[in-house]
């Protein structure tokens, strides 16, 4: 497969960036840890969003939560990946808290 074919195939891939996801369970969430950690990572339910060209945190927040002002929620959940909230890159996989 030549580079043109590869590019053509990539170009025609569907864009799933507007997919919404969720979950629920009959089982309870784990109890908070006894050491005072009131928000264990395990109790936060997330899904993954792959950044596409033209995205910003507020744009993703707008699409995921219907509110661009909630961009900080995404930023806080990805502090290990995002050094500067104004700089995210296509292909980055961000955790989106539910």
């Amino acid at each position: 497969m030549g580079i043109f074919d590869y590019w053509k195939k990539e170009k025609t891939k569907p864009d799933f960036s507007n997919v919404r996801s969720g979950s629920s369970s009959t089982a309870p969430a784990p109890e908070p840890q006894a050491d005072g950690d009131s928000s264990p990572a395990g109790s936060v339910h997330t899904h993954t969003y792959v950044v596409v060209k033209g995205d910003s945190l507020s744009r993703i927040a707008s699409r995921q939560y219907g509110d661009a002002q909630k961009w900080r929620r995404i930023y806080e959940a990805n502090r290990d990946l995002i050094k500067d909230p104004d700089l995210i890159y296509p292909g980055q996989q961000l955790r989106i808290p539910e």
């Binding site: 891939k13 569907p14 799933f16 507007n18 997919v19 919404r20 996801s21 969720g22 979950s23 629920s24 369970s25 009959t26 089982a27 309870p28 969430a29 784990p30 109890e31 395990g42 109790s43 339910h45 997330t46 899904h47 993954t48 792959v50």
Partner: protein, 141 residues
């Protein structure tokens, strides 16, 4: 002679210990995935109400994961993908079941003009605590 006596005494002591030891409690501590179903909707008990492996572009995909056993904290992940593995979404949920439980995951896509799911083959893989517990394949047509 003395050493033989010690050996016999030790053997008797061991027998006595093994005879008096209580058997381990017959509890199921491990959490396992018992069943995975996909469909278009879930009932109030989180089980699939409308099982299918063929969806329409405007449908929401649901997967229900039945688990048995208990765990103070277990992580279930649903990896949704399209055709040759293109990632759609990955949803994580942490649960602490104390018996049989059902966890549902769902994904949807806006169904405006030109939207909805593209036709083709899809799959959802369920991962429990980092280990694949099964994959369900379905299609949109």
């Amino acid at each position: 002679m003395l050493s033989a006596f010690v050996v016999v005494l030790s053997a008797l002591a061991l027998l006595g210990c093994s005879g008096s030891a209580a058997p381990p409690p017959a509890t199921r501590s491990a959490l396992t995935v018992a069943d995975i179903d996909v469909g278009r909707s879930v009932a109030t008990d989180k089980t699939i109400a409308d099982k299918t492996d063929t969806f329409r572009p405007g449908d929401t995909f649901y997967v229900a994961v039945k688990t048995v056993g208990s765990a103070p904290g277990a992580t279930l992940v649903a990896h949704w993908s399209y055709e040759d593995g293109q990632r759609i979404s990955e949803t994580t949920r942490t649960i602490a079941p104390s018996g049989p439980a059902v966890t549902e995951f769902h994904v949807s896509r806006p169904n405006g003009p030109g939207d909805g799911w593209p036709t083709g083959d899809y799959k959802v893989e369920i991962v429990l605590n980092g280990v694949s517990a099964g994959t369900e394949k379905f299609k949109v047509q």
